[in-house]
């Protein structure tokens, strides 16, 4: 049995190669292969989570020399910050496979890309060497490009290349930052764990933080780097949207927590107001634009910009509450937005429209779909008792307590919570309630497979919302350790 993390990261790669080589006349084989691989992957990650010691810090570390001339290592490990995200990635993969069950156009190609994407997603959250981290970071670009460009909507090619070029633009600056850390006398290594507390001078940190932030901010995406997101989300196939919102956006905020805070602590303090400002602007801007969207998928996409703003705010605060809140929001947003994109996709398959004005009376025609949509919307707007509330509440508390974030920002952000309620409830009112519109009348309700895809997400949303420590027991010790390593902020 090879080491667990290596297996988790590279099992999808093996699956991708196998899927690519399957004979083309058997159109059902690729999805079966992808499902088996993704379920085994989920099983392995669950097993990892069970064996994980919440107070044990960095665990399951695998270290080997890769390119000794430049001190580049093969270094993997998982802690309380990365474990929830790794689990989220493993959870959303089989769901994406099942959501793509009806893909009939070149299924082998499709599921190969999906599994290749999973290699990058899993890898980014466990890589602890900067070069390895960057490799996984960039590895998601090509499969996601093809997922959007081949199976996307009408403007898919434009959206795909826009996604590719924007995120590439951000990440090359991250590469410059990585090289800068390596070349600095206080650095001299690509080992992320060794660079924590390396004591870089503050002026140097300021520049490197800027380089990294550009890479992370495009990925998150924060206003004003967000323009690729609505295009990519609207054109992407459902599974692409789920993984894009669920995992790829989290890579940016994960980078802030994993790289910027511990390695560049002084710059994180110096930049905190700016990060918080962008977070708050994203919250309000995302909510306002979501409010004006007639297209449901765009609405969910812009609501992502808004929710990721809370994550940025929590991270900027530098307080234990804020960071716990940021990480909880990242996990919850992955689950809830995944649900929303799945539901929009399912409704679209039936009504052939995503315009809120043309969809009404879902509750009469398709009660299960309507109920799920209402539930996901409530979770998204941050209803107490559901997952979305945990993180946003903690982020706001953390930001309020923090000396780095001006109180006015927090007040404005709190208004954002209200706006989320407005645009979500208005959407629910238009689509779920009322009399069935022509597009809706005659459609079938969710079938068993579709319900089965959604139920695990519903359960997680409720459990996390009621029993906060289901996630905080992993996150909190890691956050405490992180803040201790940087001497608090």
């Amino acid at each position: 049995m090879p080491p667990l993390l290596t297996t988790i990261v590279f099992l999808p790669l093996v699956g991708a190669v196998v899927t690519a080589l399957l004979p083309r006349q058997h159109t059902a084989w690729p999805r079966m292969a992808a499902l088996v691989v993704s379920l085994v992957n989920l099983g392995l990650v669950t097993w990892l989570a069970v064996r994980f010691d919440v107070d044990g810090g960095l665990q399951f570390v695998e270290r080997a020399q890769w390119i000794p001339q430049a001190d580049i290592q093969y270094l993997l490990g998982v802690d309380g910050i990365s474990l929830p995200l790794l689990f989220l990635s493993a959870l959303l993969l089989p769901i994406s496979v099942l959501a793509s069950w009806k893909i009939s156009d070149r299924p082998g190609f499709y599921f190969t890309m999906l599994l290749l994407l999973a290699v990058g997603m899993n890898g980014v959250f466990v890589a602890l060497d900067f070069v390895l981290f960057y490799i996984f970071w960039e590895l998601v670009l090509v499969p996601m490009y093809f997922l959007i460009a081949v199976w996307g909507g009408p403007r898919r090619e434009y959206a795909a290349i826009k996604f590719f070029l924007y995120t590439l633009f951000g990440s090359v600056f991250m590469l410059v930052g990585i090289v800068a850390l390596y070349l600095h006398p206080a650095g001299g290594t690509f080992d992320m764990t060794a660079l924590v507390g390396a004591g870089f001078p503050a002026g140097f940190q300021w520049w490197v933080f800027a380089a990294f932030f550009l890479g992370f901010a495009v990925k998150v995406p924060v206003f004003p780097f967000h323009t690729w997101l609505p295009d990519a989300h609207v054109e992407a196939p459902t599974a692409g949207s789920v993984l894009l919102a669920g995992i790829l956006l989290k890579m940016g905020t994960y980078g802030l927590v994993r790289v910027s805070l511990p390695i560049l602590p002084e710059a994180s303090v110096a930049w905190a107001w700016f990060v918080a400002l962008l977070g708050v602007v994203s919250i309000i801007y995302g909510a306002a634009v979501a409010f004006a969207q007639p297209d449901l998928k765009k609405l969910v996409a812009y609501s992502s910009v808004s929710h990721m703003g809370f994550v940025m705010l929590g991270i900027a605060s530098g307080t234990p509450e804020g960071l716990n809140g940021a990480l909880a929001t990242m996990f919850a947003h992955g689950v809830i937005t995944g649900m929303l994109f799945l539901l929009v996709g399912m409704v679209y398959e039936r009504t052939h429209t995503r315009l809120a004005d043309e969809i009404s009376g879902l509750s009469k025609q398709a009660p299960v779909a309507a109920g799920m949509l209402a539930f996901a919307s409530f979770a998204s707007l941050g209803l107490p008792g559901l997952a979305g509330f945990v993180g946003e509440f903690l982020s706001l508390v953390g930001a309020w307590r923090s000396e780095l974030v001006p109180p006015a920002f927090v007040i404005v952000a709190a208004v954002g919570v209200l706006l989320a309620a407005v645009y979500m409830l208005w959407m629910v009112q238009r689509t779920v309630l009322g009399t069935p519109s022509p597009a809706v009348s005659g459609i079938s309700d969710l079938n068993r497979l579709e319900t089965a895809i959604l139920v695990p997400l519903v359960v997680i949303t409720v459990v996390m919302g009621v029993y906060w420590s289901s996630i905080l027991r992993y996150v909190d010790p890691a956050v405490t350790a992180l803040l201790a390593a940087t001497g608090g902020m």
């Binding site: 890769w66 390119i67 000794p68 001339q69 430049a70 070069v131 960057y134 490799i135 960039e138 590895l139 670009l141 090509v142 490009y145 093809f146 460009a149 081949v150 090619e157 290349i161 590719f164 070029l165 590439l168 633009f169 090359v172 600056f173 590469l175 410059v176 090289v179 800068a180 390596y182 070349l183």
Partner: protein, 466 residues
Amino acid sequence: MLAGYWHLLPEALVVLGAFLALFGEFLPGRDKGAAYVAAALAGVAALLVAFGGLGEPLFLGQIDPDGIARFARTAIAGLAAVWALWIAGRGMPGERRRDAVALAMFASAGGMVLSMAEDLIVMYIALELSTIPAYVLMAYRRRDVSGLEGALKYFLLSMLTSIVMVYGLSFLYGISGSTAFDEISLQGAGTLGLVAVVLTLVGLLAKMSAAPFHFWAPDAYAGAPSASVAFVSTVPKIAGIAVMTRLISEIAPEMPELVTVFALSAAASMVLGNLAALPQEDVRRLMAYSGVAHTGYLLMAFAPGSELGYEAAVFYAVAYAVPSMAVMLLAAEEGTAVTDLGGLATRRPWLAWSAVVWLVSLIGIPPLAGFFGKLYLFGAAAADALWLLVVLAVITSVVSAGYYFRIVREMFFGQDRSVEAVPGRGAEVVAEPRASVAALALLAFATVAIGVGASPLLGSLGAILR
């Protein structure tokens, strides 16, 4: 006494391959046989260099088979072998194979000697040996007027810059009284020293199509057969870079003005090359401009004048040459307009996916050869605090993704305009020659392997420098 001279055996094998190819009439398989024999000999030469160990300087120190030379010679001989293998499968359009193969082998032998040169005279002769066959290769379709025009342009500019270079060499000799690299010292030579070095560099930069000496490349490439371009645009570049590291590191190790010279040329090449490549509709022109851009990245590594920079330059020259040759061979098979590649993914999926690997490597996306090449380049430049140059390089890399992905887009989403796709034209499926498939597969494998297996390669490079 003669023990060390077996280090020249690989060059002898490549020259032997050239002569055998010239007399292809008498080989089994004739024209095709000539290409196979040359490919085999060049392949053996590459293996001999790679595993033959390092040698002491030969001929009173005029050539030196050291670490950089080993790396460059392996790559040159290996790429020449792959190219000949491809020619064995596909041939030159409308012409005989054997002369092209012979020319390529002569040029490769010249490049291999060039990368070992430790003396001005040897350097100049080897440079001409590697360039003169290239003129003929570029004009290989002798009835094609535009091809002849491009080749003539190449010939005239190349000759002109060679003469400028000789002028510079004469100054170097005048300053130091010697033609051996290690005896030339420009300490105290002042402005004259700088002029001499810059004049010498003009010749090398022009052959590598660095701005501002890049004008010949797009026209020459666009007129020439794609297969010729595949060779001429890649293999001589490796040798040029190798000899440049040697020359600069020995005769002008610490000349602050050179930093400016290299930085300006690098910046101009990156910006001009990448921006000019964006609107191109012809793969050869696109690759010509992208070649200018990649030369710009390479020159960036010379600006710091550090050992790390020289290593990075030689490594990147190879990391660039492998996928670049592959893309040009792809154009040779499928047509030279970007739109000719339309529908390639349905027509020949494996080839299309290999092309994605090559193009993505040229952009510099991990974990392929181009990424590690760029990582070392950026590292070398950044180590000397040339941050502006690094930032310019990363931004232009993103620009390059724009035009490389135009090709990807065309392959996967473009309309299939090939003969087989036109209904009623009789879809005669021609079996692909196994030799050319093998050549392209080797290039795809190498693009991945140079990236993932960068460690031992760097070890072999660093052996002599550290």
